[in-house]
């Protein structure tokens, strides 16, 4: 068990994977000498050389597509898209190529690649560098979507992603890189596709992932002082989606809140809410409530940026209102 950061845990997962499997290569902008825009790949170039840690020019469609081809040809590439916002440039390669190759070609070949990227607010990076776009990938059959919310998952969920036979869009959160936490690399890796109850409780189920997990846990702590026990579920992967854990909880609590940083309308909270409603209709005592990002682009002004996504105060308030 070590005390480390989310950033370092990610780097360690890559390092261990590269040590174990010579076909793992890293491709992306500034992953080498620079060490990654957020420092995740620091040291890997020095350790594994430039044949395996491959700096790309600024050609998102090109290098993501190259990763797709490499994955079809015996490598296990980890492509790094510096910001998830840039997926707009590479979306054809992600959604029309990587996601569909196995199906379209009748199962002959898969695309075992991980597309590491990061999203979210928290650094006043403005409209084109702060989005939460996991909902785009969620609606593309063939793509797995993973979003680590803890230091331990930064390591173990990335490790698990690296064992998938299908393309995984692995979305980190820019505000979590500095988060500290415990990690035991000798533990088994994340149970792929299983959500985790991060805090048990009997009054209301809070379903979330990524940075909002931290917010939800803080809100759960707040309401605990008022005798309200919120059960906080960290989905970890949106595809696969672990319905057993979610519906097990909601049938118990009768109340559900979904918290995402992604915009409300059309975002992943909609899917989670719709599914809870379908699966647990008869158990619901109150409406399922979505607490999500405002339906606006992300503004640069820090005060506005902070209010464009859910706050701990708002989550706290809504839990209390829902459980009276």
């Amino acid at each position: 068990m070590i005390e480390t950061t989310y950033r370092e845990a990610l780097g360690l997962a890559l390092r261990h994977a590269m040590m174990e499997d010579p076909t793992v290569v890293i491709i992306g902008e500034e992953v080498g000498a620079y060490g990654g825009a957020y420092g995740v790949t620091k040291g890997l170039l020095q350790e594994f050389g430039k044949e395996r840690v491959i700096d790309s020019p600024i050609s998102e469609a090109g290098f993501v597509g190259a990763a797709v081809g490499a994955a079809m040809s015996g490598l296990r590439p980890v492509a790094e898209l510096m910001y998830v916002d840039f997926s707009g440039i590479a979306m054809d390669q992600i959604a029309n190529q990587a996601a569909k190759i196995r199906y379209m070609f009748g199962g002959q070949m898969g695309v075992p690649m991980v597309l590491r990227t990061q999203g979210g607010t928290g650094r006043s990076a403005a409209a084109q560098h702060s989005q939460s776009l996991e909902g785009w990938f969620l609606q593309v059959p063939g793509l797995r979507v993973a979003l680590p919310g803890t230091v331990s998952d930064a390591y173990h969920l990335l490790r698990a992603s690296l064992r998938q036979a299908d393309p995984v869009v692995f979305i980190e959160h820019k505000a979590l890189y500095v988060q500290k936490g415990k990690l035991d690399p000798t533990q088994a890796d994340a149970n792929w596709g299983r959500a985790v109850v991060r805090r048990p409780g009997g009054h209301v189920t809070v379903v979330t992932y990524s940075r909002m997990l931290t917010y939800a846990l803080a809100a759960a702590e707040n309401v605990a002082g008022h005798g309200v026990e919120a059960e906080v579920i960290d989905l970890r992967t949106l595809n696969p989606l672990d319905w057993e854990t979610v519906s097990g909880s909601v049938t118990k609590t009768g109340r559900a809140i979904v918290v995402t940083e992604a915009c409300l309308t059309g975002g992943p909270a909609a899917e989670i809410s719709a599914r809870i409603q379908e699966e647990c209709f008869d158990f619901l005592e109150e409406p399922i409530v979505r607490i999500a990002g405002e339906d606006v682009p992300i503004p640069v002004a820090p005060a506005l940026e902070a209010r464009s996504v859910p706050t701990v105060a708002l989550i706290t308030e809504i839990i209390r209102k829902l459980v009276r």
Partner: protein, 344 residues
Amino acid sequence: MRPTKEQSLEVYRRMRRIRTFEERVGELFVRQQTAGSMLHLSIAEEAAAVGVTYPMREGDSFTTHHRGHGIFLARGADPKRMMAEIAGKADGYCRGKGGSMHIADRTLGHLGANAIVGGGIPAVVGAGLSYKVLAKPNVSIAFFGDGAMQQGVLYESMNLAALWRLPVVFVCVNNQWGMGTRIDRAAANTQFHERARTFGLEGHVVDGADVFAVIDIAERLVQGARDGRAAYLSVECYRYYGHARMDKSPYRTPEEEAEGRKQDPIQRAITRLREKDGATTGEFEAIDAAIAQEMDEAVEFAINAAPPPVTDLFRDVYDDHEPAPEPLRKRLERILTTNLTATN
């Protein structure tokens, strides 16, 4: 290349197979036995297919655009399974999931035909990268049309291949037209190989009516690529017919078509074979007859093949070891049973 008569006849045979195959695809369509109407025939592009694939070896790979039947045939495809795929049948290369625009075959190095113009190009960069990293002696070749010369991803891919010194060749099958747009209405400069050179590639252009010229340059560029010099080649030809099966090309003049259709690589090969190698009508007829029979059989195979079972709908979205998506009807029944029962 100074081919022997036998080699020349083999080259002719490969081209004829493509031509006859494509003619049969047209008939299959008329007989309403294809999956859809998005069929793009590579008639008169046979020299590009046969010539460029000529120096390819086992383990080499390639991707193609939507007009890719001929290329894959040249690389050894089984016309039965191709035709079955075009008909959307379970015995097709892709189990009837892909159709004409998405034929692929991993075992023959076909990483897939693509219906996104330019979409399959960067994959060869990745394949080339894998050869370099894994120290394999292979090359990967991207085939695409002149339309893709206006897609940005091509230039990104060319730059990556040159920068990383990958065993990759980019081949533009320049049939002068992209749907209803002639290349001079698509590009301000149509000397595409010049563009490639400024991205650091070997860049060349060759007459696509002369299959032996194509073989010559392809041998050189493919060898260069094996040695790490990425290359680009324009093969100049002419799109004989409409863009897809429904299109009668009303946007171009009969004069232009007549002129363009003079560029027939098969006729050119026949003439050469007759003149240089003394090939006889009988020799051609024998080859043609065998091919006609092979292709007739392919058509019958495709027509008689079974469509994929409905359960295949949910198959191969993910790896076999993973649970398949839950079919909607099952899901709805489950939801309604659980909830409606509970309420009553």
